[in-house]
Amino acid sequence: MTSVYLRLAFAGLRRRRLQAGLTVVVVAAATAALTVALGVGRVADRPFERTFAETNGAHVIARTFAGSDADLTLLERLPGVTASTGVVPTAFTSFAHDGRTFGLQLVGVLATPPEVSRPLVVEGSWPAPGQVLLERSFARFLGLEPGDLVPAAGGGAGLEVSGIAVVPKGEAYPSAQPGVAFVREETLADLPASPVGRANLLGVRLADPAAADAFAAQAHRLLGRTADVEPWTEERADAAETTRTISVVLGFYAVFLLVAGGAVLATLVGGRVAAQARDVGLLKTTGLTPRQVGLVFLLEQLAIGALGCMVGVLVGWLATPAFTARAASLVNASETPPLEPAQTALVVVAVLALVAVFTLVPAVVAARRPAVETLRGGERALGGRSRLGRLADRLRLPLPAVLGARSSFSRPGRSALTALSLALTVAAVVATLGMEASLDVATDPPPAPPLVQGLDTPAWDPVDDDAGEGATLRPIVYGLDALLLFVGLVNLLATLLLAVRERVREFGLLKAIGLTPRQVSGTVVWSQAVLGGAAALVGIPLGLAFFRLAIGLTGGSDEFAYPAAWTVALLAPAAVLVVVALTAPLARRAAAIRVTEALRYE
């Protein structure tokens, strides 16, 4: 019996290769989008906390500057301390790069990474004497890589970049300046006396991280006014502040890709099965029960779906690192490991489950209808003349327009699905326009060089923050925009291709009556244009609502801006134009099919 199902399922696949191919592409696009979304979502999930845990970060850090007589080691003896970095020498310096002067805080390290506040090397290696390990956001900003040379302040021998590391920082460079780097203590000691400002710091881990604020207050009293004490909660709050916007942006795309992927599956798989109502009738006539009919369709769609999933997972795995690496750098998270097989399996199961649902629902609905009704042809049609058709008639529109408008509303279910799927693409465009507008807003004035007591800090040119967060965020947003628009475009093409293909038989009929091929393709272009217009009307508010939701999630952040009204207003005619431009060549080809051949189409 199983072999019968399989044979029927594969017969269906062979007979409808175009739809099968489209479904593979769409499932692949959806799977890839979900894979990327998941990867990106993981990066944006509490990045500071993850990095803090991975680096065994210090809950309280105290700093004294040259000339201070405060004894940092007093902190190690306070109750609640479980571990300490010991006294770490640091130096503030500056160096010239690309014609600008950049400030740099060098932190001394030993031959092996410390237990507490351990920089995580993500590229290259731990520094040897004469080498420097750069903090990632700083290195990325300057475009420095292992092997490059950082010129020394005061004209000494430069420092060779040994590697790139991640540390739990509240803000990424250049939001937080100066840059941070690690050198061996002996290298630090060899630096010229000027223009270098020296400081010591000590970090401790606490048994109760929540007690950090109280501990910091206590430490401040103990060390006196010449020392700086900072609990990790401050960095965490900073991190939450900077990450929030970015997390919301990334999360927003993750959710949107999820919705778009799901919707694409719904329209294509669901629409495809709904359009095969005739086959359902035929299978029932041959003696299959509604349940068995559902099974045949399920096998057919799952076979296509599995193939699409394989392609999508492959593409997703290849594409995800490009997104996660940038995203991780942006939110100052440690590099996210590649997607785990379990996660990928989850994506595949989710996609196949969606395929199954979108297959079974229309198949069972069709199977419950009397066989004769489904055999008579296609969908249940609405009776009577549609208002739109009558309106088109009254407006004295050309005949193809009247026929096209009629045709849009004669298959209400199918048309609604098409319009919805087009609307999602429009919504995606609206949302990306909003993101684009927001990128221009997400700029803060550059931070001033910190005033450090008793220290002759070397001067550096503050780096404009706009060039930082915006610049790093932009490629990610554009990449995600591209992914989202790709899913949208695949969806659009698949929808239009199917809409045209489903009408080939009708084209033959209209030509037999005496419509020219141009008039025939005109009807389908008009009908899709009507749907495109309807989709824009639904999609624009949908996109704005989605975007507003994203803003709401950030707590009404003023870092977001709505897209300009004129761009949104232009979107409606643009959507119609794109639909027309894509439909016209498809329709022209379909209208050229000979009548006798067209009439054999189902």
């Binding site: 004669s410 009708e506 037999a512 009556i513 005496g514 009439l599």
Partner: protein, 244 residues
């Protein structure tokens, strides 16, 4: 008299799964204005193919077709469409009404195509549907009609522009005997009105109403029988009835 429809050496070859199928192998046919020609023959003999070629619904592999003295076999798809809407009415065996349009719209569509005003198209349609006995269903969609009703609507659609030639592929093939008789009497009326009729049929009663029966076998004309003189007197009608 100059034939309204003339075909010479009409051939059609299909390629199906790499195998060439000779559907028509050089058919000559002349149809005089106002004549009623029935094309008969077993399944697969090329009857429908002949009709499709004569209506420009398909392209001949070889041969020539003249409509009203004008060669038409090389017309473009668009030119054929214009010829069909003005000069040829076509009735399919399986009705082939546009499923998304109502009965009224299906019938009015060809009239609107040739530029008839909506009011006139509506009047023509009402007359035709009244004559065909389906005027009660004008706002129904084709899917909700019985086979006989659909075929009558298809006939109305084919006739609404009063084409010079009506081509019909088994117009009674899917009908019960009552419906078939109604359709046949309508076809007689059409012919009486001066229009030319070419129809493919299996049904000897339908063929018996024709002026001439052309028999096809394996893509060739194998026999032509004149049943009535042009003045209407029966010549071979009795013979065919015996055969049937």
């Amino acid at each position: 008299m100059e034939p309204v429809l003339r075909a010479r050496g009409l051939a059609k070859t299909y390629v199906s799964d790499g195998v060439e199928v000779l559907a028509l192998r050089g058919v000559d046919i002349d149809v005089a204005p106002g004549e009623f020609v029935a094309v008969m023959g077993p399944s697969g003999c090329g009857k429908s193919t002949l009709l499709h070629l004569l209506a420009g619904l398909d392209r001949p592999t070889a041969g020539a077709i003249e409509l009203g003295g004008r060669p038409v076999e090389r017309l473009s798809e668009a030119e054929w469409a214009v010829v069909r809407r003005r000069q040829i009415g076509f009735v399919f065996q399986f009705f082939n009404l546009v499923g998304s349009l109502t009965v009224a719209e299906n019938v009015e569509l060809p009239a609107r195509l040739v530029g008839v005003s909506p009011q006139d198209a509506r009047r023509h349609r009402e007359e035709l549907l009244e004559r065909l006995g389906v005027s009660a269903r004008t706002d129904a969609l084709p899917g909700h009609l019985s086979g006989g009703q659909q075929q009558r609507v298809a006939l109305a659609r084919a006739l609404v522009n009063r084409p010079a030639v009506l081509l019909a592929d088994e117009p009674t093939g899917n009908l019960d005997s009552t419906s078939a008789a109604e359709v046949l009497s309508l076809l007689r009326e059409v012919q009486a009105g001066g229009q030319t009729l070419v129809l493919v049929t299996h049904d000897a009663r339908v063929a018996a109403a024709a002026d001439r029966v052309v028999s096809l076998r394996d893509g060739l004309v194998v026999d032509e029988a004149v049943l009535t003189d042009r003045d209407g007197s029966a010549v071979l009608a009795g013979l065919l009835r015996l055969e049937a």
